[in-house]
Amino acid sequence: MLDADIQLRLSRLSLDVAFTVAAGEVLALLGPNASGKSTTLRALTGLLPLDGGRVVLDGTVLEDPAQRVKVAPEKRPIALMFQDYLLFPHLSAVENVAFGLRCRGTDKKTAREKALQVLERLDLAAAAESRPGSMSGGQQQRVAMARALVTDPRLLLLDEPLAALDVSVKTSVRRLLRDALRQSSAANILVTHDLVDAVALGDRMIIIEDGAIVQTGTPAEVTARPRSSYVADLTGVNLLRGTAHGTVLDLDGGGRLSCASPGAGPSFAVIAPAAVAVSRERPEGQAEGDAGGQTGGTPGGEEVNTWRGRVSAVDLMGDRVRVRIEGTPAIMAEVPPAAVDRLKLDEGGDLWAYLSPAAITTYPR
Amino acid sequence: MALGACSSSTTTVAPAGAAAPATPTGSLVVFAATSLTDAFNKIGEEFKAAHPGVTVKFNYNGSSSLATQITQGAPADVFASASPTNMKTVTDQNLASTTPKIFTANQGEIMVEAGNPSHIKSLSDLANPALKVVTCAPQVPCGALATQIFKNAGVTVKPVSQEQNVGGVVTKVTLGEADAGIVYVTDVKANGTKTAGVTIPANENNTTNYPIAEVKGAPNPTAASAFISFVLGSSGQQVLKSLGFLPPAS
């Protein structure tokens, strides 16, 4: 079990995060570039000394600047997996895997046997004597996995381990990694920018931005209710900020939306792009020249949020089309490809956005 | 220009004082032993004053190095050697177009540090193993000189270094690296107060004759023979005498 409180001041970053990871748990760390994810890992390994805080692993204090306690990196029961594998190029696969064991005192013969066992489990027995230079990316990452796991670490840190792999290989390696993580009793921290990794491998998620934690929760919780634009972008949803008064949401950026469920105070609103419809004609009952969100009538008679905006970008994403609309509020809509031709969306211009109140989910900020 | 003189078959040096067959001009290259540095620089200036059209370039080095360079085709006009042995190397290969003439002579002297801190009085003092004595390498004229001098005096001296030319010996004594060295009397004089000298008695000393000759195939034979005449003439001899050189020994 890891109990970490990390405070670090670097030239480009001020890091202040605190979290715990239980034995056997996988904590996924996400965030934009230079937000402090890798720095957090380096601090946990002991390669970067803390300015403040405390790190305790399985009851042992690894670092406590106030008490002048710092356990050297090589004495911490921690193993790492790196995005660029960092396998020793001058050693064979089995020598790489045995390295950690030999450093911690295991004799050559035993270390080699154990290393070979792990390599067999990961289907790498045939490549045991090869050098990293002659292996594929997927093989190298599995050797790196073996090297990290064979020392039976109490804390396993994975720094974007799948980032350098081809998509075709990623899936199978991800599966292997998931099995290996399930079997180990170590606390695990996974840094990734790939939401799929976080969802597939993580039990819990932490979002770090600018050196601070902005959101924690299970992957489902975080993706359902993002609290930062970063996560919203990751999951591909619209995230708006505003103040709720009952079913009316006054948006921070201007405009007003009508929601199905009531709320109070500062709120987030999350809207799936597919729930936003667009049209070139103004809806019935809507006066020309109206700006801002108004509810208007539809033929069916229900209340619908509509407002006027301007097409700013059209992105074709496979079988879906995302339309970015500037307006009050700015919003992203998802339309079928046929709509692009029908509405001549790639010519830009003004259009109307339609949004049902039921499609808006609000939650306190 | 000087075509007539060039095709002349006479190869003897013009007698001192007689008019040269033509006016020397152009560039003149003189290979001379290190010990002639000061002397020839002065002679060179006077020669230029007398023959304004000539630019003289000197190459000073150990005589054996110079002889080797000449036998390997170096473009020299005149060769002035510190010993007949090295001149013989050149004449043996038929590379002298005039019979070498002895133009001066030199003797050896012990060079010591200024003030003679080691109190050296004679050659036998140099046999003291505590002293650091430097000579030229035996293959070089000043080295052969040293060998002969030690033999004459009947002393065994073990030098700590055998320099490639006499300049190296002078440097080592001047810098204080060596306590004493065998050089020419002219070197002691030229080095002024930086070092001191201890005279070698005549019966122990050795005189070496310095020959000078025109090199065969010289690019500028007119200037070459004019220069050699000058050295043998009163102006050249005057300069040599003033620097401590001896008249040619018979």
Partner: protein, 263 residues
Amino acid sequence: MLSGKLRFNPLTTVLAGLAALFFIFPLIGLITGAPWGHITSVITSRTAVQALELSIIASLSSTAIALLFGFPLAWLLARGQFPGKGVLRGLTTLPMVLPPVVGGIALLLAYGRRGFIGRPLESATGLTLPFSLAGVVVAESFVAMPFFVITVESGLRSMNRRLEDAARSLGASRRTVFLRVTLPLIWPSLAAGTVLTWARALGEFGATITFAGNLPGVTQTMPLAIYISQSSNMTDEAIALSLILVLVSLVVMVFRRDRSGAQ
């Protein structure tokens, strides 16, 4: 991995060929100019044997000194952060640019009998460096060590230091990291630096003759013996001795290439 035949490019081949010939012709000249008739007597002469012995002992000692002192210096220059690092690097590589004779004079002024280091050294220990084999080693180290420092510093800079982090994270102490990760990774530049240094020390002439002097059996290394023979018109002897030096160097160069090629 990219392997396979080099595509034939006429211009590259011609230029490379000319370069190769430029180096080979003088060697051919040495071989054809050698006095094969009496070469045995020359190379077994006392001059030759003594000179070769001295050359080998001195060059190996200088190389050892370069390794012992040059490696920490290279480490400092590659990894250290301190003001004036650029100046230090410039100073330690100065001997590469100085004419060797100038180096010899500078050595005399520092370590000679009247030098500001040499004088107290002599009065304290009675030890003088000029005119001794130790002096030869000093002169050779002075000119050759910069080659070692430059080569090894470059190797240290270009290695991936994160591999050292990885090793530490696996439990390696600093000593283990150095011996089992850093050294193997910079091995090629270490080997190249050593050979280059040794070769430079072996061929050193100007600083040696100026600082240590020239005495057969004591300070007359091969290059000095060759120069004296050559300048006293004993060209035969000079060529024969030169061939020996070339042969010794070739053996080491070829041997070294084999080992690195096998890796």
